[in-house]
């Protein structure tokens, strides 16, 4: 997953500085991808170096380093466009779950331990799903309220689009969580059978 | 085929519904077995009587009112070709101190056994005067044995005799009148009868019957009838034919009911086995095989039902043996032999075929639907229901065509044909109208009925109305059956009420007398000997007698036609307030009493057949020469409705026939006088004369009995019909309840209490019946009214037509039918467990 393209995408809207970028990123993808300032600035520097982004402005602040405002360049736009239309890779994503590792060393005469782990993991995922769903609900609600309060069509479209993006992302997380839960239930059944 | 198993499992699992569905077929086949058995028994009884009376005879000479002079027997024996001539003289009487009417069978003991059958079990055959034979039944009932001395009482006093032997009443003469008969010598019979005359001479020929008949005609007087023994039963045969047709119609109705039940069940079954059908189809089973599977299931149900029906029918026949089966009487007024009610075995295979075939036909449509099902069909049923209603145009056309055809049938058939054939056309008329109107009616009802029912009965009403009008497929066939059944019930009861009403009218107008003195004869209605003048004079002087009206009652043969002549002293008759029951013509007796212009009123069935109307002239050869009698009107006769009778004034008769004889004396008593006492006195005083004193109440009873044998069968059929309708409606309601278990469960889950569920089922049954009534009552009124005029013309008996209280009674019965039929299904619906119902697939 490319941080580079994420930042480019965010910069197409308008010039932003690092703080804005972090905030926007969190808004849209914060639930599934944790990004810190360090990663952002490192990527920005690389983007400037490659000519895809340029420094737009600097605002001085007291007691703080200057706020650098970045802007996307035309080659940056090209790069983004190119990336957007590229077909996705079709390999399934690799699964790296600590649980698999534990399973390798399962002691079959005491399966209760691993079953307990499975159960706990299940609760975690379930609770996670509840949280994600709640979030979806809230987003949808606030989007609806925002639309009611504005009469500007462009604004409306923007809110709608953001809402859609957030929901798609959250749905992705939910579906994956559901898949994991199903796998857990399935494994639990297999292990019980073995005993 | 392997997948037949699925059918069996399904039937077994839903065994209640299976049982209910074959109920109709069972009942239909039972009726199919039982009814022809009755009919066949009555016919064989009629023919047995024939055989018993006529025996080996090829020709029978039958007397008219006046009897045959015994001297003529010799002349008959002289005729070439006559091998045997055997006389017979009958009478009616009683054993002393006993109430039961007996037939006195007077024979020539020397020769009678050569023609008729007598099975002697005890004692000896009679040798001559003073000896009698009794059938076993009579002997046992009255506790009489061989050697006992009996006192016999005829119309003309009593006579003593000794019992010489007992007859086995399994065959022959002893079977007549149910075994209530006494065989005696001619001389004894003459005494009891009061006259030396014969009723018939039975003749055995060498072979050339026709020539012998011609020869006999030259020897015998004109008044007697020379014919075949089978001629006796003409009228009876006709009535039996008519009865047969009526019964067949009921049979068909019941079978159709059975078909409807099978149809309902198969439809539900198909619906429930949708998935199964889908699976089979996906495994490669063809549509035709699916269709055949269901048709065979229907056939299997039919076969089982038919088999059960036959068994049940046989049981019913044997169980009914003790019930008296009264066949209609024959023209000679001789009581019939009663045959043992027996199963008509020839009918059994037909009954079985009928039941099975009906089921196969009934199962065809659901089978076809099953074969057309796509593997995935969810709520498409609603669509099918709506298609069912909406194909109105097609149906309207079909309906109108049927109406037109049946109208043509109704109005073009000659009136003298079986009126039941016309009635069949009327059924088609009604059904045709119903089919044509069905679609629009249902749509209209579907809009009006639910809100109205909701307003009146709340949620149960809404549910009931909605089910009825929006899911018509299941109920429409039931509705049709109900409609036809109700119509038939109306018709049957209308006929009955007609008879009763006519009786009442006769009682009020003609039969206002207390006693009738009549010359001795074979029955209440046929005097042979006239009343001596002394009796007339004496009767008139009795203080208890308020009035005595004279009447001459005789026959007259004119060429081929035989008339009855009834000459009444109209002065006295009218003075006492008696009246004839007029049909055509002005009720004016003055024309009749004008002796210068001889007039008559006519009555009888042949009035219509021979086309005699008011204004016509009947030419009669009398001792005064040829006289033209003007017909001034037609009246209804109760005494001999099938015989052409000329009713005239006594004065006219005496003037034309120069005959002062009097056969009947109609007596009205003073209010305080006791009929029984006067009768006893008269019997004592007139014992020496050959007269009978009859209580008019007895006369009425005898008259009623004549009709009752027919109407009782009709009533039995109506009762049976009601039972069948209840059964059919109950089955349908059960099937409906099972069909909608899921919906009912859902309604209960939503908060409908049990009582509301019960109400909705009952309301639905009431609505169904109500709709059927809506069609049936106008139809029934129309046909009964139509029949009234028709039958009146045919038979000359006045029908009362439709009466308000009879329609009301039908409605009450219908209401009761609906309530009774819906009771158990409603209770079942109410008792349902909600969760079970919701899981129901």
């Amino acid at each position: 997953m490319s941080v580079k393209h994420a930042l480019l995408g965010l910069l197409t809207e308008n010039p932003k500085h690092g703080y804005d970028l972090k905030r926007d990123f969190d808004d849209r993808l914060g639930d599934i991808w944790n990004l810190n300032y360090g990663q952002i600035y490192t990527t920005l520097e690389r983007l400037v170096r490659d000519g895809l982004v340029e420094l737009f402005d600097e605002v001085s602040q007291e007691d703080r380093p200057d706020k650098k405002i970045y802007r996307i360049t035309s080659s940056g736009r090209n790069e983004l466009r190119h990336w957007l239309v590229q077909p996705l890779k079709h390999e399934p994503r690799t699964l790296r779950d600590e649980l698999f590792l534990k399973l390798l060393f399962i002691d079959l005469t005491d399966p209760e331990l691993i079953l307990q782990q499975i159960r706990e993991q299940h609760s975690v995922y379930m609770a996670h799903m509840m949280q994600l769903t709640n979030r979806k609900y809230q987003i949808d609600g606030s989007a609806r309220r925002a639309i009611e309060n504005t009469h500007d069509d462009t604004e409306r479209r923007r809110i709608e689009r953001n809402r859609l993006v957030s929901l798609v992302v959250l749905d992705a997380a939910l579906f994956h969580a559901e898949a994991d839960i199903r796998w857990l239930k399935h494994s639990e059944a297999r292990i019980k059978e073995l005993v | 085929m392997i997948f037949q198993w699925t059918g069996w499992r399904h039937l077994r699992h839903h065994w209640i519904r299976t049982v209910l569905s074959i109920l109709g077929i069972v009942m239909g086949v039972t009726a199919f077995t039982f009814v022809p058995s009755i009919s066949r028994t009555m016919r064989s009884s009629a023919s047995i009587t024939l055989d018993d009376i006529a025996g080996r005879a090829d020709i029978e000479i039958r007397a008219d009112q006046n009897g045959i002079d015994p001297a003529l027997v010799e002349s008959v024996r002289d005729v070439e070709g006559v091998e045997l001539a055997v006389p017979l003289s009958n009478g009616i009487g009683r054993l002393a101190e006993d109430h039961d009417l007996l037939v006195f069978f007077g024979i020539d003991p020397a020769i009678d056994r050569q023609v008729r059958t007598y099975k002697l079990t005890e004692g000896d055959f009679i040798a001559g005067a003073g000896e009698v034979l009794l059938p076993r039944t009579l002997a046992d009932d009255k506790d009489i044995s061989v050697g006992d001395r009996l006192t016999l009482g005829g119309f003309t006093g009593s006579h003593e005799a000794v019992v010489s032997g007992i007859l086995d009443d399994s065959a022959g003469v002893a079977r007549l009148n149910g075994g209530y008969l006494i065989v005696m010598g001619l001389s004894d019979a003459y005494q009891l009868r009061g006259a030396e005359s014969l009723d018939s001479i039975a003749i055995v020929t060498g072979g050339d019957t026709a020539r012998v008949k011609d020869s006999l005609a030259t020897v015998m007087p004109d008044e007697v009838e020379i014919g075949d023994p089978s001629g006796r039963n003409r009228a009876a045969e006709q009535l039996l034919d008519a009865l047969d047709i009526q019964m067949s119609m009921i049979n068909l109705l019941v079978l159709a009911l059975g078909a409807m039940l099978i149809y309902n069940t198969m439809s539900v079954s198909v619906t429930q086995r949708r998935k199964e059908i889908g699976v089979l189809r996906s495994m490669g089973v063809s549509r035709r095989q699916i269709q055949r599977m269901f048709v065979m299931e229907a056939g299997a149900l039919g076969a089982i039902g038919s088999a059960l029906g036959i068994v049940l029918g046989i049981i019913v026949v044997y169980a009914s043996r003790n019930l008296p089966v009264l066949p209609p009487s024959n023209t000679a007024n001789l009581p019939q032999s009663t045959a043992q009610l027996d199963v008509a075995y020839g009918v059994l295979p037909i009954a079985f075929m009928a039941g099975t075939l009906t089921s196969v036909v009934a199962g065809y449509l659901p089978a076809r639907y099953a074969s057309r099902l796509e593997p995935v069909e969810s709520m498409r049923l609603s669509q099918a229901e709506r298609d069912f209603v909406s194909h109105s145009r097609q149906r309207i056309v079909i309906g109108l065509v049927i109406v037109l055809v049946s109208l043509v049938g109704v109005f073009s058939l000659p009136r003298t044909l079986e009126y039941f054939a016309i009635n069949t056309n009327l059924i088609y008329l009604m059904l045709g109208a119903a089919i044509a109107l069905f679609g629009p009616a249902l749509i209209g009802l579907g809009r009006i009925l639910p809100p109205v029912m909701n307003r009146l009965f709340g949620a149960p009403g809404l549910i009931a109305a909605d089910n009825l009008t929006k899911r018509p497929r299941r109920v429409v066939v039931t509705g049709a059956m109900l409609m036809v059944g109700l119509w038939m019930a109306l018709l049957a009861t209308g006929s009955n009420f007609g008879y009763t009403a006519f009786m009442e009218e006769w009682q009020a107008n003609e039969n206002i007398w207390d006693l009738t003195v009549m010359g001795a004869g074979t029955s209440y209605f046929t005097p042979i000997v006239s009343i001596p003048p002394e009796v007339i004079e004496d009767a008139n002087t009795r203080p208890e007698v308020a009035a005595a009206v004279m009447e001459r009652y005789t026959t007259h043969t004119e060429g081929e036609t035989t008339y009855y002549i009834r000459a009444i002293d109209f002065n006295a008759y009218l003075a006492k307030g008696a009246r004839l029951i007029w049909n055509e013509g002005e009720e004016d007796y003055t024309a009749l009493q004008n002796a210068d212009k001889p007039s008559v009123v006519v009555t009888g069935m042949s009035v219509v057949i021979d086309g005699i109307t008011t204004g016509a002239t009947i030419t009669v050869n009398t001792p005064s020469g040829e006289v033209d009698f003007v017909v001034v009107g037609t009246v209804y006769g109760a005494l001999a409705p099938d015989q052409l009778t000329l009713v005239m004034d006594l004065g006219t008769y005496r003037q034309v026939w120069h005959d002062n004889r009097v056969d009947r004396l109609m007596i009205a008593l003073e209010p305080e006088a006791s009929t029984a006492e006067v009768r006893r006195d008269m019997q004592r005083d007139y014992a020496v004369y050959s007269v009978a004193i009859v209580d008019n109440a007895d006369m009425q009873a005898a008259f009623i009995e004549r009709f009752n044998s027919i109407t009782s069968v009709s009533r039995l059929m109506t009762a049976l019909l009601v039972v069948i309708l209840i059964g059919g409606l109950t089955s349908t309601m059960f099937i409906l309840v099972y069909d909608r278990r899921r919906d009912l469960g859902m309604l209960r889950a939503l908060g409908m209490v049990r009582r509301q569920i019960v109400s909705s089922v009952i309301l639905e049954a009431l609505l169904l019946v109500g709709v059927a009534v809506l069609f049936a009552v106008p139809g029934g009124i129309f046909t009964v009214t139509y029949n009234s005029s028709f039958v009146h013309d045919m038979i000359g008996i006045k029908y009362a037509g439709v009466q308000a209280n009879h329609v009301l009674m039908t409605l009450v019965v219908v209401l009761v039918v609906a309530l009774v039929a819906s009771f158990t299904p409603a209770r079942t619906a109410g008792r349902m467990d909600v969760l079970q119902a919701l899981r129901y697939e």
Partner: protein
């Protein structure tokens, strides 16, 4: 406390199957509770008990202060009529009635005339976004639309307690989601109490509280209370 189950046990098939064993459960007003568990774990039975459709072998079921075990069959039915809204997995609409008539059914059963309640019925159908299908019969509606009619029907009597048995079981993923969203909205907006039986984790995730049944007992309970997870 809106729903209380004290030590409730239930069985069927004459004791051969223990559906529930000694269940204790309290549900407050305004809670959205999901009940999960493998098939045969007794989820639906729990729902039936709360609805008064069946009585427990042991224990007490108290809903809105009514002790259901003490009510006669008639009183139970009336109680259900006025206090419970039921949503089934198979939609169980009457096929002969339009969507609107189906929605109005609970109050028609209660003796109200169509005139009185029509407006409310139409309002509810608007709520589930079926305004243009009011006069359609069930067989003219898609699965999702039928389920929405069923939901509108469950709301007709303004029941404080809504019970749903696998409401999204027969629906595709998107339709199901719309339904769940609607249910959640109802609970939050009108402070109804919702108990939903489901085996679908994504559906259960819409609840505030997830109770998992296993072998007739509560094996797990998850809940969100003010964004804080409680396990």
């Amino acid at each position: 406390m809106t729903v209380q189950l004290h030590n409730v046990s239930h069985e069927y098939n004459y004791g051969k199957v223990q559906a529930l064993r000694g269940i204790n459960l309290d549900i407050r007003a305004g809670q959205f509770v999901a009940i999960m568990g493998a098939s045969g774990s007794g989820k639906s039975t729990l729902l039936h008990l709360i609805a008064g459709l069946t009585q427990p072998r042991d224990g007490d079921v108290i809903v809105l202060g009514h002790h259901l075990g003490k009510l006669s069959d008639n009183d139970l039915t009336l109680f259900r009529r006025r206090n419970i809204g039921l949503i089934f997995q198979a939609f169980n609409l009457l096929p002969t009635m339009t969507a609107l008539e189906n929605v109005m059914l609970p109050l028609i059963i209660d003796g109200k005339s169509k005139r009185e309640i029509r407006a409310r019925g139409e309002h509810l159908l608007r709520l589930v976004q079926l305004t243009d299908r009011m006069d359609h019969r069930p067989d003219e509606l898609s699965g999702g639309q039928q389920q929405r009619v069923a939901i509108a029907r469950a709301l007709m009597n303004e029941a404080p307690v809504l019970l749903a048995d696998e409401p999204t079981g027969n629906l595709d993923s998107k339709s199901g989601e719309d339904i769940l969203y609607l249910l959640r909205e109802l609970v939050e907006r009108e402070n109804r109490t919702m108990v939903m039986v489901t085996h679908d984790p994504r559906a259960a995730a819409y609840a505030d509280r997830i109770i998992t049944l296993s072998d007739g007992q509560i094996s797990e309970e998850l809940g969100i209370v003010a964004e804080v997870m409680v396990s």
